[in-house]
Subunit: 256 residues, 2 copies
């Protein structure tokens, strides 16, 4: 006897890594799922919330092993929604921050599948904060600009060149492999002394960080052995970090 | 008999309004608090999680009634940490996104008070998403720039002028009163046809939105009676919204 299936898709942001940084609403979706599709950046601890008997399918991309193409994931979501009912698509960070979440949602909607978006804590804001680096700070930074290092064309985003001329805190996701290119854009603006932090595996016990300036960061990242996944944060607010030699924090505070 | 007091401060991001958008970690902090200080943008529903007997102090700013200055809040945190123990500072959105959270944390640390930051869902990303507008979308937007409309000097941030020249999705918090000024910066770049959405009380039952283009948004916002608190989103990705007359979503998707 087949039950009456209501095809649905819920996109859930899993947050930056720490499994306690999912929202209550995200957790409720996991409890209510008929099937789960999850990515490489999702902490497996989160899957323990999923009721026994609910299938969990890994559709993430791992280096040199592209298990599913984006088109295949889109098609899978639709197939599974019609055969299982409530599909929960669990993605690292927030589904709409370079997660291709909108493509999945839009594709499902074209089949008249009901969709819901549940935001997640984005690595772009939280990982700096967890290291004591505020992305904004009165008197130091009145904006932050989040840019992907990996555009669809493979080239560095032109936005990074403009960003290097602004006073924004610049946060680059998936940009580690282009670090030299990014740094040279800042050097061109004579911003050699701007603070830079690179955080790998942020919010997890394996977290590793390199911190320095435009001038020193490449060498420090090499010494620290920083690898992916990593977030790059560039801006004067990085100097608020307690380990920073000329910590801005003390005197900036007094000036306010 | 006085118990042994361990002064501590936890900054907790309450999220954009919907009380289910707090994180598990944030909720745990509320359960563990000895005293709570909360802001105007925090949903009162969240305070129901706080154990009976724990004092909750409102320190928010309301129009024409600045109950506490920032210096007074900083001093209060320190006093209360030494007299009560665990102070939980509950802030709307994320504490480090224009929340002056770093100032509070830094001040407490100067008294050797142990501090913790628990990120929250930032309105800057989530409110667009909840309206079906992704802040990034492959082929349309490869970055987003979050800017305050209200700088410490009171003037419009110069970053908005640069932003109007970039291809970033631009998200302006606390900028509704400067809407005309912002719009004229986009007109100067001949970007009259760029999409604009303004979301008031996002994620709450009272949510209200105006959506249009640089050309039409001021009139539409007036018609809809949009007031504060509101988030302004400017960029081609706004045209992904289902109500948008020339919805980009369909053909852009096919081009990918």
């Amino acid at each position: 006897m087949k039950r009456n299936i209501q095809p649905r898709l819920t996109l859930v942001g899993a947050g930056p890594g720490d499994p306690e940084l999912i929202t209550l609403k995200g957790l409720q979706a996991l409890l209510d799922a008929d099937i789960i599709l999850y990515d490489a950046l999702v902490n497996p601890e989160l899957l323990k919330h999923v009721p026994v008997g609910v299938r969990k399918i890994f559709v993430g991309k791992r280096r040199r092993a592209h298990t599913y193409s984006q088109d295949q994931i889109n098609a899978l979501i639709v197939d599974l929604a019609f055969s299982y009912g409530h599909v929960v698509r669990l993605k690292g960070g927030d589904p709409f921050v370079f997660g291709r979440g909108y493509e999945e949602m839009h594709y499902a909607e074209s089949f008249n599948i009901e969709t819901t978006y549940i935001p997640g804590i984005s690595s772009s804001i939280a990982l700096a904060g967890l290291q004591g680096i505020p992305v904004t700070h009165r008197g130091v930074s009145e904006s932050f600009w989040v840019i992907t290092g990996t555009t669809s064309s493979g080239a560095l985003s032109r936005d990074i060149e403009i960003a290097a001329q602004s006073s924004a805190t610049v946060i680059i996701l998936m940009g580690l492999e282009k670090l030299s290119e990014i740094i040279s854009l800042y050097r061109k603006q004579k911003k050699d002394d701007i603070g830079v932090a690179i955080i790998q595996n942020g919010s997890l016990p394996t977290e590793n960080m390199a911190i320095g300036t435009v001038d020193t960061i490449e060498e420090i990242a090499r010494q620290e052995g920083i690898g992916t996944p990593a977030v790059i944060i560039i801006g004067e607010t990085v100097k608020n970090h307690k380990d920073f030699p000329q910590s801005l924090a003390n005197w900036k505070y007094l000036l306010n």
